[in-house]
């Protein structure tokens, strides 16, 4: 649990929401918000926000096994947006969550612009604190990254969702695109309040004996420490666009330690996503929080905001 002094140092405001800590538990890693509470010592209170599993209008069974495999310093996943549908999430799951613990963010997905809008409409009429627009899922045949890699389509999705809700909108950007800055600009124009940077990188692993891809979906999304340098650069690039608009970023990709989290804050993120690291250590959040607080103290900084985007580039 976050100690009192740490809590004061680590708290911040993100799109009008109070985040008790800068950590955001990432969509797809923590189910619908209750799964990790099985672990003694784990608390959602150690995270500023928890992003729920990607949700579509209709229930989805997701992809066939294998859905995950380990790769050097990382893992590939292709879950395929398995979820019980937006109506079920709002009616049956959200009432079981304790909204005093943290901010809960819905992750909305779809195969068409209209589906994104409809899912957003359903979540708009719910206690959910914010919505993350998932235009970067690499593991579905339609929608997802097919939208996220095209700035024009990304903007159309954001615009359609914006029309449905006043809740904070966070657009989750794909690293699998040519110009992430142009995409960010278009999404800001379309009404995005914040960004999550980045989603997984598309990847593959092959069993050489059978000569088949290990992942049932053939390809999947790479996460974990292996992608951290990519994520840091993308975060910094998007920060260049966001700074003048006062738009905050959740920086994410391979964060495992407090030092990783600090790198993202310095690169321009206002909050830091933790995903794959939970698989390694379900109690990692309190360690990262403590490490960030210790750093702030050591550098005589009163609040994290002083750190955000404080990168000193080489000449």
């Amino acid at each position: 649990m976050v100690h009192k002094l740490e809590r004061e140092m680590l708290a911040s405001e993100f799109c009008g929401m109070r985040f008790d800590t800068p950590l955001v538990l990432l969509s797809g890693c923590v189910g619908f918000g209750e799964e990790y509470t099985r672990v003694s010592g784990f608390s959602n209170r150690d995270a500023g926000a928890v992003c729920l599993k990607g949700t579509t209008l209709e229930p989805r069974l997701g992809n066939p096994p294998h859905r995950v495999c380990e790769t050097p310093q990382g893992m590939i996943n292709a879950i395929g947006l398995q979820n019980p549908g937006a109506r079920y999430v709002v009616d049956e799951i959200l009432p079981t969550l304790d909204f005093d613990e943290t901010r809960f963010i819905a992750n909305i997905s779809g195969s068409t612009v209209e589906e994104y809008a409809e899912v957003a409409r359903i979540f708009d009429d719910s206690p959910i604190d914010a919505m993350e627009i998932n235009i970067s899922c690499p593991n579905v045949k339609e929608g997802g990254v097919a939208f996220g890699n095209d700035p024009e389509m990304s903007a159309r999705v954001v615009e359609a969702v914006r029309a449905q809700t006043e809740k904070p909108l966070i657009t989750k950007l794909s690293p699998n695109q040519t110009d992430i800055q142009e995409n960010a600009r278009r999404c800001i124009e379309a009404g995005s309040d914040a960004f999550a940077v980045i989603n997984t990188l598309m990847g593959m692993a092959i069993d050489v004996e059978s000569r088949t891809p290990i992942i049932g979906n053939n390809q999947g999304g790479l996460s974990g420490p292996a992608i951290k340098p990519v994520a840091l650069l993308k975060t910094h690039q998007v920060y260049q666009v966001c700074r003048e608009h006062g738009i905050p970023i959740i920086g994410q990709g391979g964060v495992t330690t407090a030092e990783d989290a600090l790198e993202f804050l310095i690169a321009g993120a206002s909050a830091v996503g933790v995903g794959t690291a939970l698989f390694y250590d379900p109690l990692v959040c309190e360690k990262i929080n403590a490490g960030i607080a210790a750093y702030l103290e050591r550098h005589a900084l009163n609040e994290m905001a002083q750190l955000v985007g404080s990168l000193v580039p080489n000449d």
Binding site: Y36, R38, V39, S40, V68, M75, D281
Partner: protein, 293 residues
């Protein structure tokens, strides 16, 4: 609001108390993990960090626990990078584990003649289940059939316990089980002495055929092992109209229900579903995994 699942899993830095290696790249580790040892049930597993440089843990099923002494035994076979590194760990080193995870086997007194079938690294949960059924409850008469195509991770010996109906000469047993007065027999295609030369399901069939109708009604089947073996066991149970539970494995990431990475397709009363091996399983009703034609 139901939060009954909360705080049911423990993260422990478990010291390796003992390590024993066997032919066929098999290793048994005894770990000091008192919180999980006090709560573990047969069928459950631990999610073990094999090495600090690997990003994912590995699910390893629990073979025995001693709640009082606070230890748990794990048998595993080297099959990849994670288990290879786990096999290199030595006594007094510490391993991080999350445990006890998953739905355990369930059983009822109306089936007082449980048939437990374990193949390869599917043996451990069967040993745990046999110990609990027999030693703890005392009301059951399990028969344990173990199969392996590499040397068994124990020195087998002729059983002191008579099991009617089995082919002549099939007398090799697991000493630990024999000491508990739990009947066990071994099967392999490798021609090990006293071992049934054939599949575990063929030996199981011989035993079932030797039971009268009343006794057969008291049988329930429990199995863990390679997928083809489980499929054959499920078909056998179906043929003899016996209830059957199987324990599955799948590549796993979080181990606590968060990522849906370890799912298997199952049939449910509400239609097809993808269920997580970690927290919905690893024990499933055989009919949901292998729906009868």
């Amino acid at each position: 609001m139901s939060q009954a699942h909360r705080d049911t899993l423990y993260v422990e830095d478990a010291r390796i108390l003992a390590r024993e290696a066997f032919d066929g790249d098999q290793v048994i580790l005894r770990l000091h993990a008192p919180q999980m040892a006090a709560r573990a049930r047969p069928g459950q597993f631990a999610h073990i960090q094999c090495d600090s440089c690997l990003p994912l843990r590995r699910p390893i099923s629990i073979m025995r626990v001693d709640a009082k002494a606070g230890w748990a035994d794990f048998l595993f076979k080297v099959v990849g990078e994670g288990t290879r590194r786990l096999a290199e760990r030595r006594v007094d080193e510490r391993l991080s584990l999350i445990a006890p995870i998953g739905q355990p086997f369930t059983y009822q007194l109306q089936h007082r003649r449980p048939l437990l079938i374990g193949g390869g690294v599917g043996m451990p949960p069967m040993i745990f289940l046999a110990e609990e059924m027999h030693a703890v409850t005392g009301a059951y008469e399990p028969l344990v059939i173990l199969g392996s195509e590499v040397p068994f991770p124990f020195q087998s010996r002729p059983s002191q316990l008579l099991v009617p109906g089995l082919p002549e000469g099939v007398i090799a047993a697991m000493p630990l089980l024999d000491d508990w007065r739990v009947a066990s027999r071994l099967a392999s295609l490798q021609g090990y002495p006293g071992t049934y030369e054939g599949y575990v399901t063929d030996l199981a069939r011989a035993w079932l055929d030797g039971l009268d109708a009343a006794a057969r009604k008291e049988v329930a089947v429990f199995a863990c092992g390679p997928h083809p073996m489980l499929e054959a066991v499920a078909a056998l149970a179906e043929e003899y109209h016996l209830p059957c539970q199987v324990s599955l494995e799948e590549f796993m990431a979080c181990g606590v229900g968060g990522c849906a990475g370890c799912v298997v397709p199952v049939e449910t009363p509400r239609g097809p579903a993808m269920q997580r091996v970690c927290v919905d399983g690893p024990v499933f009703d055989a009919r949901s995994v292998f729906p009868p034609a």
